[in-house]
Assembly symmetry: C2
């Protein structure tokens, strides 16, 4: 005993001694009513100062782990000793206690069952931002600015709807995208994903069917499945969802809900044209179907005119678009902040669901983001990030065109490209062959709602160096050629 | 036009000009292909420098809102102008699209339908920490320490399970409470509430029935209802849940789940005795019922021996306790960090559900909390906070005993007391009468699972000054006496 005490230089010593002694007691190494070493003895045994031991014993007594007897020293409180090792108990089999919602979450968990890149591999699987672009100085400043202004407020409870200055900022932000916010309201969430989950948990399932683009965002497919929806995917065209396909499905059977990713669509990278947005909205509004709009990467435009989001295009009385926004893919994913902009009535209920499920989104994240945006850092960051991503985007396109024997390449901006081979090609086979050479990507089948897409793949380039973009795509292309022969 | 431009001194000017111009375009004040004022004209109209306008126009062009014609100036991109005001659309009635889960969240939302305190009122409704105790300097230091070490990592995506240093810290923390962590694992959540919601969403409902103490935590009752559980509350005794009551209910019908708050129980403030913990666990384990343990305020002990949590008392093979922990009520509620410590199998699935629902908890919150704990700030803070709360706790007890014509007072520590009047008393009436005198509290009925508790109330004292504790409780007591006569 006392020989295994490990001392860390950068933590208060008395806490380390206290924690160590607690372990000796709770594991039963020190027993009920056993006398502890005197403070002098322990200080020698653990090679710490006697004052350190005095502080530790004082705390232990204060926390009810030990008791003092005058003139005799300190003793172990009986209920503390060996607390976890004494009794009997039967093992519970957890398997029958797990429901389908949890099983589907696990089955569709790409972190558990997806593509793993070996260390040192060239990985095109990520579409997260490149952290080398992060302007940490401005983030620190935003934090300190806000803490100085209202630190106490930030650290105590906030509101389920969100941090007021950020809500107001985002309402203006959406107005600047052309949204008429009359009759609408805004709820801050812990990122896009929580926003989607809250909306799906709140909306009624009359028919149990949801409409979306095919292919579409994997996280969305996963959540639709977890909520028990039948998913109908409508085919994509170079300027977005097929309107004939959409009209066909709408006329065939009733739907509860539609989910669309109009800008830099995941995984195809396609931007839906303005005209198509108007027409798709007209159709969905005619059938009175609520539309979830995923505002994913809307900001990562490298060229062309501004195209207003669906929620801005829904004119007149049309209050059916639920816009989900986030800066995660552009700014800092570690800050879990997203938002829902939608009809007031819906937000009223979403707010209560949010409160019931997580009270509110981290106020630090919200206030830091607000201050960062307000200081004008986002504009500057975006300019820098866009220049960098645009270069990589153009490089990746050139490399794909030069090396990959593909049928089609799409991607109008954003952080990824989408490659289609001939119909008989299997990108899972390509992946296996490339992976052996240290290159991985995301096979397109996981984005498909109908079991298709085996001949497609997504290439995320945001976190790959220029050199590796060239090298990786060349390996993919050469390997694909071999497979084709 | 241009007269309503409002300039804020603390934001970059070019961003303000840019945003202002966007609004003029999207609202249709500036029309498709309309010529914008020259940079010189606009600088005069808005009283900003010409360089500011040049930057704004350059950005607007870059973002695709305007286009330049050589020698002629800048013009509005047609798809931008009046984007939200031109089209027709039918109104959607949201009411039929909302489900019971959302309706129950709204109905049971205390922020929407609970007690409102007028400004200046003495409010005993809160059990949040007193922000005057927050040590902002140490919080800032913890943030800067961590940002300097690994800022880029903190701001990019983290893991659903949580921030590794914090997970390891909390595992040690739980071991120090006597928990045997073999076969267990830990998931970080956005506070206790998300932890509870995740667990309820993951567990199978075979019988649709849950067991808990009566009264119990309102947020828990709300979430049980939202998940469609029939709730059976077992009566409380001065040392915790009635064991005869528990045995009676267990033998009567099958349950899916139990929920217990063994320490500083909300709302009664009762601490379950060590012996009772062992016996309750034995009973529940015999029936093989998973137990959610709410580790609420466990740290806010003011006297007595350390009492190990249920998860530590569950010895041998008993893997059925799901411990939900949080520092929110003691430390900083604004940091949304809680955790689940439970059997590895369950955590494996909870991790996937967490990922599907919100990807991960704010890394900033987690890393800041970790560094704050590691630096030893929590220990110091807790000592200070406990001294302060203990004084208020003792004062509140003295005042209740002096003024309130009650039948029973409970509260062994923590941030609130629980008062029971005679069975015919109505605390809702008392509340109405006190509220008129500027004093509010939480009527106990909202914590009851069986519609009872109309003669009880909870008094949260953490955010009330000493002076107002005395004044408020005297008013409550005097008003109660009048009602009794």
């Amino acid at each position: 005993m006392y020989l295994d005490f490990k001392f860390a230089d950068d933590r208060p010593a008395y806490i380390q001694v206290k924690d160590y002694m607690k372990r000796l007691m709770t594991t039963g190494a020190l027993q009920a009513d056993q006398k502890l070493p005197s403070t002098r003895e322990l200080s020698v045994l653990l090679r710490v100062s006697r004052n350190t031991v005095l502080s530790a014993y004082s705390d232990l007594e204060d926390e009810g782990y030990i008791y003092a007897v005058k003139g005799q020293g300190h003793f172990v409180v009986p209920s503390v000793s060996g607390v976890s090792v004494q009794r009997e108990g039967k093992r519970l089999d957890w398997a029958p206690h797990l429901n389908d919602y949890a099983r589907l979450a696990e089955e569709n968990d790409l972190m558990k069952h997806g593509i793993r890149a070996e260390k040192g591999a060239i990985s095109f699987t990520s579409i997260a931002p490149d952290e080398k672009l992060f302007d940490l100085q401005n983030v620190k400043r935003a934090f300190l600015d806000r803490m100085s202004l209202e630190g106490e407020v930030l650290l105590n409870y906030g509101y389920a709807k969100g941090y007021k200055p950020l809500i107001d900022y985002l309402l203006r932000y959406m107005e600047n995208k052309g949204v008429n916010i009359q009759g609408k309201d805004l709820l801050i969430t812990s990122g896009f994903t929580e926003a989607l989950s809250l909306v799906l948990s709140t909306l009624n399932q009359g028919h149990g069917r949801i409409l979306c683009e095919n292919p579409t965002h994997h996280t969305a497919i996963k959540n639709f499945k977890m909520h028990g929806y039948d998913i109908t995917g409508v085919e994509m065209e170079p300027d977005g969802i097929s309107l004939t396909g959409l009209a066909r499905e709408l006329s065939k059977r009733p739907y509860d809900l539609a989910y669309l990713v109009p800008s830099y669509h995941n995984p195809t990278g396609i931007v839906m044209s303005h005209q198509k947005r108007l027409e798709a909205l007209r159709l969905l509004n005619e059938y009175q179907i609520p539309v979830i709009e995923d505002g994913f990467n809307e900001e990562l435009r490298y060229s062309g005119s501004h195209i207003a989001p669906l929620v801005a295009c829904a004119g007149g009385e049309n209050n059916s678009v639920i816009y989900l926004g986030s800066f995660s893919k552009i700014l800092f994913p570690g800050l879990r902040v997203g938002w829902v902009l939608a009809d007031k009535t819906l937000i009223h209920y979403l707010e209560s669901v949010k409160r019931a499920r997580s009270i509110h989104t981290s106020t630090l994240d919200q206030s830091l983001l607000y201050q960062y945006l307000y200081n004008g850092n986002f504009e500057k960051y975006l300019k820098r990030a866009k220049a960098e991503y645009k270069r990589k985007y153009e490089l990746a396109i050139r490399c794909c065109e030069e090396w990959i024997p593909m049928e089609r390449l799409s991607g109008d901006g954003g952080l990824h490209l989408f490659v289609e081979f001939g119909p008989d090609f299997r990108t899972r086979e390509l992946l296996a062959a490339c992976s052996a050479q240290g290159v991985v990507f995301t096979p397109g089948d996981i984005f498909h709602t109908d079991g298709g897409g085996h001949h497609t793949m997504r290439l995320g380039f945001s976190r790959v160096s220029d050199e590796n973009i060239e090298k990786g795509i060349r390996i993919i292309g050469e390997t694909a050629r071999k497979l084709l022969n």
